[in-house]
Symmetry: C2
């Protein structure tokens, strides 16, 4: 038992009502006393990842956002289009906490975990958009003594996703990688991993300035989808690297199919004889995000040896098994301030996260508008 | 050595010219003397499968078909749309033989293979739209004494495809199957296999009369995509069978995505709690044909545990290994006249195969218009 009871704290909640209204609010929730194997973490840094944003706003039409409540206790409402409600049926009427990952300082600990008191830890526990979180000690990743919560806030989702992609490449027998939305925080991280590990990476971006940024960060292959020579550029890069595996963050539109088509063209450049069913080399694109929410569309112009599919990092790590997953986590801690460093454009409080003018910025889910929430900020 | 030299014979050829003109003609080709491990087969029955048709006509616009040449030696020409030429680049200028599979009688044999003389055999050897084929004896499947070439003509493509689908289901851990274009010869065969082996099969067809046909053949689950209740019917059938694997012959359009969406809905019927990433059960659709040549399009409304991909029977059998593949071939011979019986609407000669009025029929690639070529027919 701790001498002082742990304080109650604010927690961000997202509620989808049966009539399609989304409501985001701040609830004051008690903080449980930690059990013997638990700790209470005062959360000081938690990022707004695209997956958090999507969950928090439940596909609501952002042009319908309204703010009500008080300055200290604001409420955001917005309307969810009818067509999106089917996919949300399972959460209607449940006020849900938000925030996959974050970091902070241990302020209370169960009797087996006293050694963690005062340590800065990162947590992948859900409900991180909160001032306090009571979690199992085993869910905490203890950060190096000189690391701040802000430096450890994005320890899990992006680093493990990037490492999981490289691991997938190795285990599924590919020798190089393609990544879309490659100028993102995640993309820059993957670029650093691939440079460090000597893996050829084809970076796809959609603006010249993103291409320039990646080149300045040492990327050898960068293809800009807004360029009139995109298809040729991509095919050249695929032929040079031999990449037959792509991870696509956009999900919708024609990009995934274009990548498969260019992979096939690259493979056929060296083909000795005509094969009516196309190249026999398997080409794979995993859709791990949905930045483009339009339908996915492709012309089947890439033979028969191809696959497309969903990919999520945590189920993937589960399939890898605890030892392999633990090795990846240890690498993240060891290279926290280099390979796995994340950047944010602004730090905001929970109350500020509910300001329409801030939402308008972080809703862009762009590299240059990535926000960090500090729930302990006044 | 055989006492009489083997005769020359007609062979159907398909040529894509650089200017996009398709030319189908009959060449007279010499028949090689069989080497010690080879036999010469007089081909008497060879089906026009969709894959043969697609290869023979090279995506040509069938409304541009013209016939020239003579009655005995006709030539068919047609124009290939410019957009389709890229995929055909590898075969431009090469006069290519056609016909995946067929059956006939051994009329000459190398010294090690004399025992095959006079036997009726099925062959998967390519170039089967020909009067004579010299092949390795190991490529021949000896048919039962009471089987005709017509009965053995379709021993490989459809039977092994249907068996390969069931094998894929077992090895990838699914417990039931979905099949589209299910009233096809292949679909009826798969229906017979599944009834015999006690496997739940969800048959998707696009007309009420096809649904009635399959029901009359004992199919328990038949969903008609032209019905206004198709989505509900399919979801019900998927919930009843637990099918999470589909083989789609159409390839294009929205059907593959609809199947995944209905699988997800069926899985979520029994879900205990909301999972923001959807069901964690893997759902898979293999596109093994392209009856619908329009782009494939889907809305990603089926969680993240899904896959779509190309599937081809012979590369699949190669991955299975020779023993497993041989076991499937033996089952085909054992059940040739029952489970694996094929039906044809008409038997035509090679010359008749080049008549525009016959092409107009077999180009429909429908169950009721399936043709058998008898190259030995006068």
């Amino acid at each position: 038992m701790n001498p002082n009871p742990t304080p109650a704290g604010l927690q961000l909640r997202s509620l989808v009502k049966p009539d399609g209204q989304l409501e985001i609010s701040l609830a004051t929730v008690p903080t449980p006393e930690p059990a013997h194997d638990e700790v209470v973490v005062r959360i000081e840094a938690t990022p707004i990842n695209p997956s958090d944003f999507n969950f928090m706003f439940g596909a609501a039409d952002l042009s319908t956002i309204k703010r009500s409540g008080t300055d200290a206790n604001p409420v955001i409402t917005a309307q969810i289009p009818q067509r999106a409600m089917k996919a949300l049926a399972g959460r209607v009427g449940q006020s849900m906490p938000v925030g996959n990952e974050g970091a902070g300082v241990v302020i209370a600990a169960g009797e087996s975990e006293r050694a963690l008191m005062g340590k800065t830890v990162a947590v992948l526990g859900g409900a991180m958009y909160a001032q306090y979180r009571c979690v199992k000690a085993t869910e905490c990743l203890v950060l190096p003594d000189d690391a701040t919560p802000a430096e450890g806030a994005s320890c899990f989702v992006n680093p493990l996703t990037a490492l999981g992609m490289v691991e997938t490449m190795r285990r599924e027998g590919h020798k190089a990688l393609v990544h879309t939305a490659a100028a993102s925080n995640l993309g820059q991280m993957l670029n650093r991993i691939c440079i460090k590990d000597g893996i050829a990476l084809v970076n796809i971006v959609r603006k010249p300035e993103q291409a320039a940024l990646l080149r300045s960060l040492g990327a050898a292959y960068v293809c800009d989808s807004s360029s009139p020579t995109f298809v040729e550029d991509l095919t050249d890069a695929l032929a040079a690297t031999g990449a037959t595996l792509a991870f696509d963050a956009t999900g919708g539109g024609k990009l995934a199919g274009q990548i498969l088509t260019c992979m096939e063209a690259a493979l056929n450049r060296n083909a000795k004889e005509y094969n009516r069913y196309g190249s026999t080399t398997h080409k794979q694109v995993y859709l791990y995000g949905s930045l483009d929410t339009t339908p996915t569309e492709f012309t089947r112009a890439f033979g028969m040896a191809w696959g497309m599919g969903g990919w999520l990092v945590f189920p993937y790590l589960q399939r890898l098994g605890p030892h392999a997953a633990q090795a990846l986590r240890q690498r993240v801690v060891a290279e926290l301030k280099t390979t796995f460093a994340s950047g944010y454009s602004k730090e905001i409080s929970l109350v500020e996260a509910l300001r329409p003018e801030e939402i308008a910025v972080y809703a862009q889910r762009a590299t240059s508008t990535k926000y960090l929430i500090n729930p302990s900020k006044g």
